[in-house]
Symmetry: C2
Subunit: 311 residues, 2 copies
């Protein structure tokens, strides 16, 4: 096993891509045929939703595997389906890894030390039952919230070290109200810079051979100015940049997240890729195409658009 940051860098080089695709299944947006089949098989049940999400996620993965280096599986949409949804979530992660993609679980977890350890072991590590070490989730990386301070983050760092995983600490999130707390200025700098400083100061512990750390950070493409500042403040930190596409960020907004080597970040789009088939223009132009063709085209276009601005 290789350091997580090295795996990301190698994938970016090999595929000439910095694209991460967000798997955000929503029942109301699924292709009709897929949903109908699940309802027919499982009735109007949470199991039907789970089955539909698993199939949708896997088909999206197959469509984008050539153009993306990673998927960001949004836990919320699977959790919305209850325990049944978690089975689908696990299936999607496995499928992504089998397709050669890095699986990032977007869980934004955090808790006090011993409890954070349970999350870290569960997502990135193992659980020992009797004498057997088992893999509860087996994801490659998770997102982590910093509100509880370092003792809520360090267990993830330790688990990442032990199991060659990664983590992305929320620094500056892509949503509209992110500034309410993150932009508060304390000791002459915004809260998000305090978090970024901690991430930068602890990069060495998970450093890969390409000069990037598996202790990463989330910075939204919707705040390009802050992205530029944070890139400079955390030069060796792998960035996960959400907010591309439906949230309004484009190649120009994501560019400040890249280092002069054209690396150091993966850019995530969810809705604009996985629901590309719902675009009326595309549907009108491609009356006989399969919905996954739209997903594939959107991922390829995103890759190309980002490569145009990569140094």
């Amino acid at each position: 096993m290789t350091n997580f940051a090295d795996r990301i860098v190698a994938a970016c080089q090999e595929k000439n891509s910095i694209v991460c695709v967000g798997i955000d299944p929503r029942l109301e947006f699924l292709p009709d045929s897929l949903l109908s089949a699940a309802l027919e098989k499982h009735g109007h049940s949470l199991e039907a939703a789970s089955a539909a999400y698993a199939e949708f996620g896997q088909m999206v993965i197959d469509a984008v595997a050539k153009y993306a280096v990673a998927v960001k599986v949004q836990s919320a949409f699977f959790e919305m389906v209850g325990p049944a949804g978690m089975v689908a979530c696990r299936q999607v992660v496995k499928h992504a890894q089998a397709a050669g993609l890095v699986a990032i679980s977007d869980v934004k977890r955090s808790d006090i030390g011993t409890t954070a350890q349970a999350y870290a072991d569960g997502f990135l590590g193992e659980m020992t039952v009797g004498d057997d070490a088992l893999l509860p989730w087996g994801v490659d990386a998770v997102t982590v919230s910093p509100y509880l301070g370092s003792d809520g983050i360090v267990p993830f760092v330790n688990a990442a070290k032990a199991h060659h995983g990664g983590l992305f600490v929320l620094v500056k999130t892509s949503n509209k109200s992110s500034g309410e707390l993150q932009d508060l200025v304390a000791d002459g700098r915004p809260v998000y810079e305090h978090v970024a400083q901690w991430v930068a100061d602890n990069a060495e512990g998970l450093m890969g051979t390409w000069g990037y750390s598996a202790l990463g950070a989330v910075v939204g493409a919707t705040y390009p100015e802050q992205l530029r500042t944070l890139r400079a403040l955390m030069p060796k930190t792998l960035l996960l940049i959400p907010g591309y596409g439906a949230q309004g960020g484009g190649p120009a907004e994501a560019k400040p997240g890249l280092n002069p080597d054209g690396l150091g970040a993966v850019v995530n789009a969810s809705r604009s890729i996985i629901y590309a088939f719902r675009d009326e223009t595309w549907a009108a132009d491609n009356p006989h195409a399969h919905w996954t063709d739209a997903v594939r085209d959107a991922a390829r276009t995103m890759r190309d658009d980002l490569n145009e601005v990569r140094p």
Copy 2:
């Protein structure tokens, strides 16, 4: 259905208790007999851990139901078991509710608006599949992290309103490093007071008939001075006070969280109650007792100790 805060207040009056018991199952701490039975039935598997957690949680609930008003189910320990663990988590929640306890799911979730909505609907509300509205988790309340600002919290407020649930926003957490971010001073007050102010300002939207809001807050008993300040800043907010027992807080530390009416808070202890049977003194004094007797006694003692300091 009644407002969540009203349900908590009514339970506190009826049981003369402000005790919340944290369900934090850990394989290494379970009673030997219970673990052995699960391993025998399910082998060395995650299903064995799940079955053991479900049984342990349910037996703890039966032991404490007379003395506690609520349970705080710590999602991390169930998630550590993978998808199988989530089935146990759901069972424990159902069992608590059947035993007349309020079920708080300690998930510390937060995300950007539309994604936070998925969490809120999943935990507090419903998911519509076909024409049927189904209950994915059916918990009474959740804990919510404030790092993403109000648009990560409002969806939970709305779901709580629609489904008579509650939420507890993390304000000042009980862990050692909580001050690293939460105590940063911006505009003359610490970050946790900024969060508290938002909670206080939005209390009306979920106000119950007893004068308490179902938009609650988490403040640790390990920081009694801050607890006093925050009680005053959020007079109508229902507080969830962790950090009692194993983390070092006692009745004196929890007291500042109570209003003059003796209400306004539930105090949570996890390890000191659910693993009371592991105390060597208790084991030596009660060689023929069942492990649940120790759990029951610990819950009763906690109730009595807290009632001594209640106004």
